[in-house]
């Protein structure tokens, strides 16, 4: 339908594709070429490969165990918090999401505070000076934060279950346990497996936890960081990166082209009344207790951050002080501003382009949409640190990277080292959130809505502005909130690309932790979490002002 195209939309589509080719496809291809092509490539050096494979084994041990445990915890929590009624459910539903506003290593800091060499439990209570660093620490920290992700992912599909199927099973004589085992879980299997795959990817990409508390137990992702910052060995880093990339891309393709296509749910089936009505007392008690315990762990993480930020010197001197908080105001406000700028700007652009791209792909069905979709989503599968390295090896050359091939002498414009590059990498990484959010929206909207507008005489551009954009607002908002919170705490992708003038807060925290100044690290983490939280609730309130006002009036009237 040629007449349904507008020039502006086609140009935007072209620009988005150009961006994706340039900032997603090119870096990935060039990092792979770099790894294979380097003169003293480790591919010719068996020892090097053996070394990388050793780290791969560590990575897999961590990721596989974390995936299984976190998915099971996430599953239990989503069922309990969504389908069992009990007092305190609403507050639990909010608390379980706390890990989304904190920097990834808040857990690590608390862990060191409790079990470190000067830890509250190991040293103070038990009088031990053993080292807590190693595999178990990585597992505990990752499970605590990734279970919340699993919870969120599974919860989003739990409302789609058709409860009449469960009723049908009960009607045929199935006990509640039977219903769960033979109907509920098998129906959700594709969603559960999909969640597991995403958890696996996140665990594989996590380099900070092993660095901070892994001790001698390092994974591929953390090894990449060590190779570059410690040993300045770009070649081995790239080779390790390629080895890390393979399972991740494999899992990504499996998820994208297999599991997500096998859902039993239709997008528009949303059950309202999904509460279990005949749940046994003991089962209920177990489930609620389980969630309670998990959430108290999550809270404990924060509690120790707060205490750490307000005491003089953890492990030595527990007197109350505002010293760390004051220090924030004195010299370290710039990184917070930088983080805020990065999160807001890249969040806005990535969400807007992502949602627009979803519209162009799904509603307009233009050419190359398969490729555009792949390129916009694949950054989700690439460990951040590796994506950073790929920018490093691509954009240190002139002419925005292409100059490497033929303009070797020209200084020209080098993206690397400029402030813009961290914005670009964040946009490339965050666009998939907007895209997915947009897909979810457009699946609900019948394409005839636009046709109705054409039919009433509106042009393509008018229709887009008056009909489509207002519809996209919610998808944009959801994506922006998610991207903003990720942007505030993103580290892996940008850590190698930062220059002194645009240092962000997370990186500062990271540096302080590695130098074990817990008080300052805690204070900064706390500040960062608070900023994210305040901004997000402010944004939410602003956009839901009307609804909130109405509710307030309603409450007032009832009194």
């Amino acid at each position: 339908m040629k007449h349904n195209r507008s020039v502006i939309l086609t140009i935007s589509y072209g620009l988005i594709i150009a961006f994706l080719l340039y900032f997603v496809a090119l870096p990935i291809v060039s990092v792979v070429m770099y790894g294979f092509g380097a003169e003293n490539s480790m591919w010719r050096n068996l020892k090097g490969i053996e070394r990388s494979l050793g780290y791969l084994k560590n990575s897999l041990v961590v990721s596989l165990s974390v995936t299984v445990i976190a998915t099971v915890i996430g599953l239990i929590m989503s069922f309990t918090l969504n389908r069992v009624t009990f007092v305190g459910r609403r507050i639990m539903k909010i608390l379980v999401l706390l890990p989304f506003v904190n920097p990834p290593f808040v857990g690590s800091i608390s862990y060191i505070m409790l079990f470190g060499k000067r830890g509250l439990i190991t040293h103070q209570l038990l009088g031990l000076t053993i080292s807590p660093f190693g595999l178990q620490g990585i597992l505990i920290i990752q499970i605590l934060s990734l279970s919340s992700h699993a919870y969120l992912l599974i919860s989003s599909s739990i409302r789609k279950i058709d409860v009449t199927l469960e009723d049908a099973a009960r009607n045929l004589g199935a006990t509640e346990a039977n219903v769960f085992r033979t109907v509920t879980v098998p129906m959700m299997r594709p969603e559960i497996l999909g969640t597991a795959l995403l958890i696996f990817l996140e665990s594989m990409a996590d380099f900070s936890t092993p660095l901070v508390i892994g001790g001698s137990y390092q994974t591929l992702a953390s090894d990449l960081y060590i190779q570059i910052t410690g040993l300045y060995d770009m070649t081995s880093a790239t080779v390790s990166g390629i080895i890390l990339l393979m399972p991740c891309i494999g899992i990504f393709i499996l998820h994208k082209y297999y599991f997500s296509k096998h859902s039993y749910f239709s997008e528009d089936s949303i059950s309202i009344d999904i509460e279990y009505k005949h749940i046994g007392k003991k089962t209920k008690l177990f489930l609620v207790a389980f969630c309670g315990i998990f959430i108290s762990f999550v809270l404990a993480k924060y509690l120790f951050i707060v205490i750490g930020a307000l005491t003089k010197s953890w492990g030595h001197d527990y007197t109350f002080t505002l010293e760390h908080i004051k220090a924030l105001g004195n010299r370290q406000y710039k990184p917070f501003v930088n983080a805020f700028k990065l999160a807001t700007i890249s969040g806005l652009i990535a969400s807007a382009t992502g949602v627009t791209l979803a519209y162009l792909i799904q509603v307009k069905q233009l050419k190359f949409s398969g490729m555009a979709d792949f390129l916009a989503t694949v950054p989700a599968a690439i460990p951040g640190i590796l994506f950073g390295i790929s920018y490093l090896v691509t954009f240190k050359y002139p002419l925005f990277g292409i100059g490497r091939l033929w303009l070797t002498d020209l200084k020209g414009i080098v993206l690397m080292g400029s402030g813009i590059i961290i914005y670009l990498i964040c946009i490339a990484r965050f666009m998939n959130t907007g895209l997915r959010s947009g897909y979810a929206l457009f699946e609900h909207i019948h394409p005839d809505i636009e046709k109705a507008s054409y039919n009433l005489g509106a042009s393509v551009a008018q229709t887009f502005v008056k009909i489509t954009v207002p519809l996209m607002k919610d998808a944009f908002s959801a994506s922006f909130l998610k991207n903003f919170s990720s942007g505030m705490v993103t580290l892996g992708a940008i850590i190698l690309l930062l220059i002194p003038s645009n240092k962000v807060a997370v990186q500062q925290v990271f540096q302080i932790i590695t130098s074990s100044d817990t008080g300052n690290a805690a204070a900064m983490s706390l500040m960062l979490s608070l900023m994210t939280f305040v901004f997000m609730s402010g944004y939410y309130t602003l956009f839901n002002m009307k609804e909130l006002m109405e509710r307030a009036i309603e409450i007032g009237r009832r009194k």
Binding site: D162, T164, L165, D167, A168, A169, R170, N171, L172, G173, A174, T175, N178, T182, V183, P186, M187, R189, Y264, K277, H278
Partner: protein
């Protein structure tokens, strides 16, 4: 097995969905619960299945009070409106589901599955995926899955509403046949009065959570208790009639014999009882044809007579005279064919 519902009420968050419903179904009979959406018929069905708990009242099967029993323990089987077939199992697994729960031996299950598949004419499709079945086949599969458990009571929740007209007619004959063959006491929820008439031994017309009328299809069709039931059964020509000064009721000049003491009555003039003539043969009532509608083998005339509009249905046969719009006609009917409502 017989079923008895005794004073069942249900309140959802302050909304009263059922108000003290009493009903009874004799062994081997089908009772149709007829009503528009939101009248409480599906709620009642789910209460019988134990999927919803009633606020008050009792449900009896034979002489056993099953009111507090969980759904699993009740030997009822439901055919759901959207079929509720398990999408992650094939046809055979769906149908065998109830038996596998009872830990029956595989061979026994297999032979029973094949038997019931034959009964609903799906034999040979054992391994089909649910997504590959047509609407009618899904309907049969849902019925088979319910039948195989040998339930005391079969519950149908608008089972044919997702099928097209032609399939609906053949499926309702089939449900009727299978129910009569197996003799399982059944409850059939529908909003389609034709379907209820075709399938049921008894009909209960429901409105706003109450049973308005309960009886045999003929009774309900020819002798509705009030204007609501008449309207719901597709009966037109409901009129109101005042007592005149001599204390008698007349309708279009004809005297109605009734023992009613009230000042006004409501009556139904069955449209199929109205005759139309081209010329006045004496004592006929003059009118004008306002609208004509062909409805299959029937012609529906709307005729303006005095200050009211009435319908007349004529069979459209070759020798039948067809009138045109605005034509003056003469009508007649036997006053004994009118039905006076007991309730207002």
């Amino acid at each position: 097995m017989s079923l008895r519902i005794e004073g069942v009420s249900k309140t959802f968050n302050g909304f009263q969905a059922l108000k003290k419903v009493n009903l009874e179904v004799k062994e081997g009979e089908i009772l149709a619960l007829l009503g528009s959406s939101g009248c409480g018929k599906t709620t009642l069905l789910r209460i019988i299945a134990g999927l919803i708990e009633q606020t008050e009242g009792k449900v009896w099967i034979n002489e056993t009070d099953i009111s507090g029993w969980p759904a699993q323990k009740r030997n009822t089987a439901m055919v759901f409106q959207n079929y509720a077939l398990f999408p992650h199992m094939n046809l055979e697994e769906n149908i065998a589901y109830g038996l596998t729960l009872k830990k029956m031996r595989r061979n026994a299950i297999r032979s029973q599955v094949n038997e019931v598949l034959k009964q609903v004419q799906l034999d040979g499709l054992n391994k089909r995926k649910i997504q590959e079945l047509s609407g009618g086949q899904k309907q049969r599969a849902a019925l088979a899955r319910a039948l195989i458990t040998k339930p005391d009571i079969l519950l149908f929740d608008e089972p044919l509403s997702n099928l097209d007209e032609k399939l609906r007619v053949s499926m309702r004959e089939e449900i009727s046949r299978i129910q009569r063959e197996t003799g399982i006491t059944s409850i059939y929820v529908t909003h389609d009065q034709k379907e209820a008439m075709a399938i049921a031994h008894k009909i209960a017309v429901m409105s706003h959570g109450e049973v308005v009328q309960w009886g045999e299809p003929e009774d309900i069709f020819y002798r509705p208790v009030n204007a609501f039931t008449a309207d719901f059964m597709g009966r037109v020509n409901v009129f109101e009639c005042q007592k005149n000064s001599q204390g008698i009721f007349t309708f279009l000049g004809k005297t109605i014999e009734t023992s009613s003491n009230s000042k006004a009555i409501q009556l139904l003039l069955p449209p199929e009882e109205v005759d139309i003539y081209e010329t006045d043969k004496g004592q006929l009532i003059q009118g004008t044809v306002v609208a004509i509608e062909l409805s299959g083998a029937l012609i529906h005339y709307r005729i303006a007579v005095k200050n009211l509009h009435l319908y007349a249905y004529r069979l459209r046969r070759v020798k039948e005279r067809i009138y045109s719009e605005n034509q003056t006609v003469w009508i007649d009917f036997d006053i004994k064919t009118i039905h006076i409502f007991e309730e207002r």
